[in-house]
C-alpha cells in the first residue's frame, strides 16, 4: 500500500514539463476517494443495464415461492407442529436471504473479468490510483445492489407471510450481518474474476461452488435430518453462522429447541461467529485479490 509520505514527494517534473497535478492525498484517503469514483462508475452501469439487477431478483423470489409452497408442507421444523407451514416460512427466509447475498460473488467476478477482457483493468493499472480501489469500488457497488435485492426480497417475504419477532434494531442488525456476508463473498468473486479468462467463466465459476456451500447448511432444512458427518460440516459452514445469526435476530427461532445439534461453537454463538467468519473472509480474499490485481495481465 502506498504510504502518505511517498505519495507526498511526487511533485517533481520530467524534463521541465509539468506533470499531472501531484496527489496531495495519502494512501488511505486516496483509496477511499478512488474507490468511490470506481463505485460510482459501477453504479451508473447498474442503472444503464437494469437487466442484471432484475434477473438477480428473479431467482431468489422464485426460491422463496418454490420452497415455501412446494417444500413447506413436508419439512418439519423441530419444536413446531408437524406440517406447520408458517413455522417453515419463518425458518426459511433467513436462509434464502443469506443465499441471495452470496450471489454477489458471481456479479463481482463477471464484472471484473469483463473489465480485464476489455482492457479496462490495464487502463486503471496504468493510472496513478490506489491499487485496491478498482476492486473495492466494485465490491461497494455490489453491496448496494445486494441491499436493493434484499429490500425487494423482504417485501415479497412479508407478502407471503414472513414475520419478525424482535425489535427493529435487531432486525436491522440481522440484515447488516447478511450484507457483511455478501460483501465478503464479493471479494471471493473479485479473486475469481481476476483469475479466469472470460466473464462467462467467472459467472459459472462464481456460482457452481455456492450450491453445495449453501445447501450443506442450515439454510433450507433443519440440520438434524442430515447424516452425522454432514451435520458437522453444516454447522461449521461459515454460511450457516450468518443464517443462524439472522434467524436469531429476526426472532425466527423456536426457544425450546437447542441451537446446535453437534454442539458446534459457531451455532451456539451465531452472531459473533458470523462477524468473525465474514471479516476473516474479507481479510483473506481482499489480500489475495489485491495482490492478484497488482500483477494482473489481461
Amino acid at each position: 500500500m502506498t504510504t502518505a509520505s511517498r505519495a507526498g514527494t511526487a511533485t517533481g517534473d520530467a524534463g521541465g514539463r509539468p506533470l499531472g497535478p501531484p496527489p496531495a492525498r495519502g494512501g488511505l484517503s486516496r483509496l477511499v476517494r478512488d474507490s468511490l469514483v470506481v463505485a460510482k462508475r459501477n453504479l451508473i452501469r447498474m442503472v444503464r443495464i437494469p437487466e442484471v439487477v432484475i434477473f438477480g431478483l428473479i431467482q431468489p423470489i422464485m426460491f422463496v415461492v418454490l420452497f415455501t409452497y412446494v417444500f413447506g408442507g413436508s419439512i418439519n421444523i423441530p419444536g413446531a407442529p408437524v406440517g406447520d407451514a408458517q413455522a417453515y416460512r419463518e425458518f426459511l427466509m433467513a436462509g434464502i436471504f443469506a443465499q441471495t447475498v452470496t450471489f454477489a460473488t458471481a456479479g463481482a467476478g463477471a464484472g471484473i473479468a469483463d473489465d480485464m477482457h476489455k482492457g479496462l483493468i490495464d487502463r486503471f493499472r496504468s493510472l496513478p490510483m490506489s491499487r485496491g480501489a478498482v476492486l473495492t469500488g466494485r465490491t461497494l457497488a455490489d453491496l448496494v445492489q445486494t441491499a436493493l435485492t434484499l429490500v425487494v426480497l423482504a417485501v415479497v417475504a412479508v407478502l407471503i407471510g414472513w414475520r419478525t419477532h424482535e425489535n427493529l434494531a435487531e432486525v436491522l442488525a440481522g440484515f447488516a450481518l447478511l450484507l457483511l456476508l455478501g460483501y465478503a463473498f464479493s471479494w471471493i468473486g473479485a479473486l475469481i474474476g481476476l483469475s479466469v479468462r472470460t466473464p462467462e467463466a467467472a459467472t459459472s465459476g462464481g456460482l457452481i461452488w455456492l450450491f453445495p456451500l449453501t445447501f450443506i447448511s442450515n439454510a433450507f432444512v433443519p440440520v438434524d435430518g442430515m447424516p452425522a458427518f454432514l451435520q458437522h460440516v453444516a454447522e461449521w459452514n461459515p454460511f450457516s453462522a450468518t443464517v443462524a445469526a439472522a434467524r436469531e435476530l429476526f426472532g425466527n427461532t423456536i426457544d425450546r429447541v437447542p441451537k446446535s445439534v453437534t454442539g458446534a461453537w459457531p451455532m451456539e454463538h451465531p452472531v459473533l461467529a458470523s462477524v468473525i467468519w465474514s471479516i476473516l473472509i474479507i481479510a483473506v480474499f481482499r489480500t489475495l485479490a489485491v495482490r492478484k490485481y497488482r500483477s494482473a495481465t489481461a
Partner: protein, 355 residues
C-alpha cells in the same frame, strides 16, 4: 543523459517464450520512436513493462527520468497509455469516461469535468459527449481512448497499435491527431505493424522480432540498408524472360532476381528516372513486350523482409519466392545475434497479451 524513455537489457519470459530478449531503448525527449514488428514480436510486452503493467525478469527502465521498477506510481503520473483495444467503459458516456479517468489521475472533480469537456471538443466528440460509448463508431472509441490517455497532458505517451482495425479515413484522422500531439513536444513510443504508419509518424524506428531489437535508425537509414533503388519489370510472355534478363544485366548494379511464375525481374540500379527511360528503350529495341515497369525505392516492407526474412504481416512460415529473394542479401545485413535466437523462439508467434 538518458532519454525520456530508456531501457536496458529488458528480459521477460512467459514459460518457454522469451517475449523480451534483451531489449535496449533510448528515446530522446520530444521525439517519436516507432516500434515495428509482427504479432508476437514483443512490442506489447515492451509497452507493458514501460507502463508499469508488467515487471520484467531482468533489465532496467526509466520513463521521464523515473525508475519504472522502483517508483511505478510516480511513472504513472507522467504517462498516458492508449492500448490495442479502446479501453473505455461502453456503458458510460464519453464525458463520464474522461471525467472518471481525470479523477483517477487525482484531479479534483471540477478540474476533471473541465478537462473532459476540453478533450471532447478537441477530439470532435462534443456532439456525442453525453451518449454512451456503446453507441460510438470504432473510430470514435479510439479517439475517446486516446483522449483518456491525454487527460493530464503527460510528457510521455505510449500507443500500442493505435490504428489497428481502423478504416483508412479514421486512420488518417488519428494520424493527424498524433502528429499534432508530437508537434507539441510529447515524447511518444508507438508500436505498429503498419510500415507506412511508422514511416509517417516516427523520427526513429526500431524493428523488433522475437523479443530483440534487430535494427534501429531513421526510416531513411533503414531503407538505405536494404540497398538503393531497383527497377522492376513484368514481361508479357514467359519466353521473353531470358532476353529481358540479358537487357537488365547491362544496367544492374548488382545481382538481380527473376521470378518466372510472376514473370517479374528485379535489378538494383543507380540513375533514377533517366535510367528507367533507357531501360524501356532498350527493351523495346530487343522486342520485349512488357506489362509493367517501375522504379522502386525500398519501402519499410523491404526493410522488414530483408531483416527478418519474412514479411511484417504474415508472421512466419510462408516465406514465398519474394521473401526468399529479399532474404538473400538480408543475410549479410542481419546482426549476428538474431541467427541463434530465431529457431528456439519460433513458438513465440502468438497473439501478445493473451496468456
Amino acid at each position: 543523459m538518458p532519454g525520456a524513455i530508456y531501457a536496458e537489457g529488458l528480459v521477460k519470459t512467459f514459460g518457454d517464450v522469451r517475449a523480451l530478449d534483451g531489449v535496449d531503448l533510448d528515446v530522446p525527449e520530444g521525439t517519436v520512436l516507432g516500434m515495428l514488428g509482427p504479432n508476437g514480436a514483443g512490442k506489447t510486452t515492451a509497452v507493458r513493462v514501460l507502463t508499469t503493467l508488467l515487471r520484467p525478469d531482468r533489465g532496467k527502465a526509466e520513463v521521464a527520468g523515473i525508475d519504472v521498477l522502483a517508483h511505478p506510481d510516480k511513472v504513472r503520473r507522467s504517462i498516458g497509455l492508449s492500448g490495442q483495444f479502446a479501453a473505455v467503459d461502453e456503458y458510460l458516456t464519453g464525458r463520464e469516461n474522461l471525467t472518471m479517468v481525470g479523477q483517477l489521475y487525482q484531479m479534483s472533480g471540477r478540474d476533471a469535468k473541465r478537462r473532459a469537456a476540453e478533450l471532447l471538443e478537441r477530439f470532435h466528440l462534443g456532439d456525442a459527449a453525453d451518449r454512451t460509448a456503446k453507441t460510438y463508431s470504432g473510430g470514435m472509441r479510439r479517439r475517446l481512448d486516446l483522449a483518456a490517455a491525454l487527460v493530464v497532458s503527460p510528457p510521455v505517451m505510449f500507443m500500442d497499435e493505435p490504428t489497428t482495425g481502423l478504416d483508412p479515413r479514421n486512420r488518417q484522422a488519428l494520424w493527424d491527431v498524433i502528429q499534432e500531439l508530437v508537434a507539441g513536444g510529447t515524447t511518444l513510443l508507438l508500436t505498429t505493424q503498419y510500415l507506412e504508419e511508422a514511416d509517417r509518424l516516427a523520427h526513429d524506428i526500431c524493428v523488433v522480432d522475437h523479443g530483440k531489437v534487430i535494427a534501429r535508425g531513421t526510416s531513411d537509414h533503414l531503407k538505405a540498408r536494404t540497398g538503393g533503388e531497383r527497377v522492376e519489370v513484368v514481361v508479357h510472355a514467359p519466353e521473353h524472360l531470358t532476353v529481358a534478363d540479358e537487357v537488365l544485366r547491362g544496367f544492374a548494379k548488382g545481382e538481380g532476381t527473376v521470378e518466372p511464375h510472376t514473370r517479374k525481374l528485379t535489378i538494383p540500379v543507380a540513375g533514377g528516372a533517366k535510367l528507367l527511360a533507357e531501360v524501356i528503350r532498350e527493351l523495346d529495341v530487343r522486342g520485349v513486350e512488357i506489362d509493367d515497369i517501375g522504379l522502386r525505392r525500398p519501402t519499410l516492407d523491404d526493410v522488414f523482409i530483408a531483416l527478418t526474412g519474412h514479411a511484417a504481416e504474415s508472421a512466419d512460415g510462408d516465406g514465398d519466392g519474394g521473401g526468399g529473394g529479399g532474404g538473400g542479401d538480408a543475410g549479410t545485413e542481419r546482426t549476428g545475434t538474431t541467427g541463434d535466437g530465431r529457431p528456439a523462439s519460433a513458438a513465440g508467434h502468438r497473439k501478445e497479451g493473451v496468456q
